[in-house]
């Protein structure tokens, strides 16, 4: 074992990558393969009033169309089971799939999409989380009365993480420092755009070539859509041309699979770079309001954090991300009194999904920008403020976990060294083993 640990090893399957023979999903081709293009919502919120494919079916090279009526199983997928594969009715975001056109090549399928007579009644959308929380805001999810995610059957919309008594802590503090931190959406922009190839194989199974980052997880979502048991689906993955969380979401496998089942042919559905950027999941927006109580000597005694996460039009990964973010939003610091109030809010944006260091980093970035702001307010060296408050072994985190094997001080010392910053001796003498 020790001959491998800590030493660089040639990448598994790497010879295929350097010789160009590695097979990514878009490299897979079958004779007679058909291609899919998707009709997407032209509006951020609206109702479909008419959907007429008569001209589409006349386009040369168009083989047929795929609508919600063609789904053999259920028209539902997603982590929280709230997204529609093809939405024939109440459109919640711009680019939401309505129907698909299958053609002998992509140009024919695209011409078919453009020939669909789609009549949509546009409704007023809401894009801002704070607007969406107002009582008279447009409702993103039809059939509900608010844009806040409910965490339980009692309708709890705010997740609370509580340690000590934050009000008493803020009262005791010598200074109160407040800050709002806004983090915009981010796209994964993997080099490999989203793509799927599906066909019925020689064993009669639905075979799907996928770049899924989580095969079993997606298979469990796909089985009910196709109305097939797992043994009837050959879900072939393993080669991912960059994911970073963006391929934790199904964008093509469901539609390619449905088309292969309906037309009994190999089908490729791939997104162009423009489609990939416009229509696939993003790291959603976050807003944090911090109110921190700090003593003259730099000790933080209380932290009250309000967290708002934009889920987009469906859950995506957001309700879970909001909770996870809250658990780390007070940063790697020993704070005896903490109150974190977290909300997941629906807007008419694309559903938010996982991305690199998902949700944890969002809270920690805000927590550390707040630390710099506190240091500035106290006139204290920001390194010193962080060293004073950093976790030591045995300290307690916001959700009452006792931390052990802490390395925050050691990591900061090393980072300072690498950046050429000389820290004073009193900081260099500090250790995570004791306070």
């Amino acid at each position: 074992m020790t001959e491998y640990v800590g030493k660089p090893m040639p990448r598994y399957q790497g010879l295929g990558e350097v010789t160009g023979t590695a097979t990514y999903v878009d490299d897979v081709q079958y004779p007679g393969m058909l291609y899919v293009k998707v009709l997407r919502s032209p509006v951020a919120r609206g109702t479909v009033k008419g959907l007429d494919f008569s001209d589409t079916l006349k386009v040369p090279g168009v083989v047929g169309v795929l609508t919600a009526d063609d789904i053999p199983g259920v028209n539902i997928y997603g982590v929280y089971g709230d997204q529609l594969v093809l939405n024939p009715q109440d459109l919640r975001y711009k680019g939401e799939p309505i129907a698909a056109v299958v053609g002998r090549d992509e140009d024919a399928a695209q011409a078919g999409v453009e020939a669909v007579k789609l009549d949509v009644e546009e409704l007023t959308p809401v894009f801002d989380m704070f607007e969406a929380m107002k009582p008279d805001a447009p409702i993103v999810r039809p059939g509900t009365t608010s844009n806040l995610f409910e965490y339980d059957e009692q309708g709890t919309t705010t997740r609370i993480i509580k340690l000590g008594d934050v009000e008493a802590g803020l009262k005791e503090a010598d200074h109160i420092v407040e800050g709002r931190y806004i983090e915009a959406i981010q796209d994964h922009a993997a080099m490999e755009p989203q793509v799927s190839v599906a066909l019925i194989d020689d064993a009669g199974r639905l075979t799907i070539h996928t770049h899924s980052q989580c095969l079993n997880y997606h298979l469990a979502q796909l089985c009910p859509v196709f109305g097939l048991s797992q043994s009837k689906i050959n879900y072939l993955g393993g080669r991912v041309g960059g994911g970073y969380g963006g391929k934790n979401e199904i964008n093509c496998d469901h539609i390619a699979g449905l088309a292969a089942l309906k037309f009994c042919a190999p089908v490729k559905y791939r997104l162009t770079r423009q489609e990939d950027l416009a229509y696939t999941g993003k790291r959603g927006a976050w807003v944090f309001d911090y109110k921190t109580g700090v003593m003259n000597d730099g000790r933080i005694v209380a932290s009250h954090i309000k967290e708002y996460h934009d889920s987009g039009a469906y859950c995506g990964f957001s309700p879970y991300g909001t909770e996870k973010c809250g658990m780390f939003a007070s940063g790697p610091y020993n704070i005896p009194n903490i109150l974190i109030e977290a909300n997941t809010i629906f807007t008419n944006r694309y559903p938010s999904i996982s991305m690199r260091g998902y949700s944890v980093l969002n809270g920690q970035v805000a927590a550390d920008v707040q630390m710099s702001r506190i240091a500035e307010k106290l006139g204290m060296d920001p390194w010193e403020l962080r060293f004073i408050n950093a976790w030591r072994d045995g300290d307690m985190g916001a959700s009452r976990y006792v931390v052990d094997g802490v390395g925050a001080l050691e990591a900061m010392k090393r980072a300072a060294g690498m950046a050429g910053i000389e820290l004073p001796d009193k900081l260099l003498q500090m250790s995570s083993r004791s306070r």
Binding site: G20, T21, M191, G241
Partner: protein
Amino acid sequence: MKSILSFSLNGAPVEVLVKTTDTLLDVLRESLGYTGAKRGCDAGDCGACTVIVDGLAIRACLAIALTMSGKEVVTIEGLGKQGDLHPLQKAFHQHGAHQCGFCTSGMIVSAKTLLDKIPNPSQDEIVEYMSGNICRCGTYVEVAEAIQAVSGGKE
């Protein structure tokens, strides 16, 4: 309406039926099955489809296929293969200069034309020359190391 295109691909003559709107990338990937050049952006921005035409690195997604008539095209598949790797392929593999691998073939092809032009490039020359090849995993440091290792015929 299709026409016959004749050119040299990795040293061997090929003839293929192409549409006037086909790009070299369409022809290589979809018609000839040479999938080493990748379709990353299809707009000339990412470099994943880089191939060599008459000694110059070009974006296959921007080259109209019919303009390739009579030219010499070299793709990643023409540089070397398993068991007979090009020194750059070997160095990329040894230095871990690839993660998801999607940009790698374009990177290696670009690097080949760099070393053909400047056998002993400086770090700045490598960074400048390779700036047209995007890697989202962030292997740039290792890519430069791999190229340095090969430059001057050291490997």
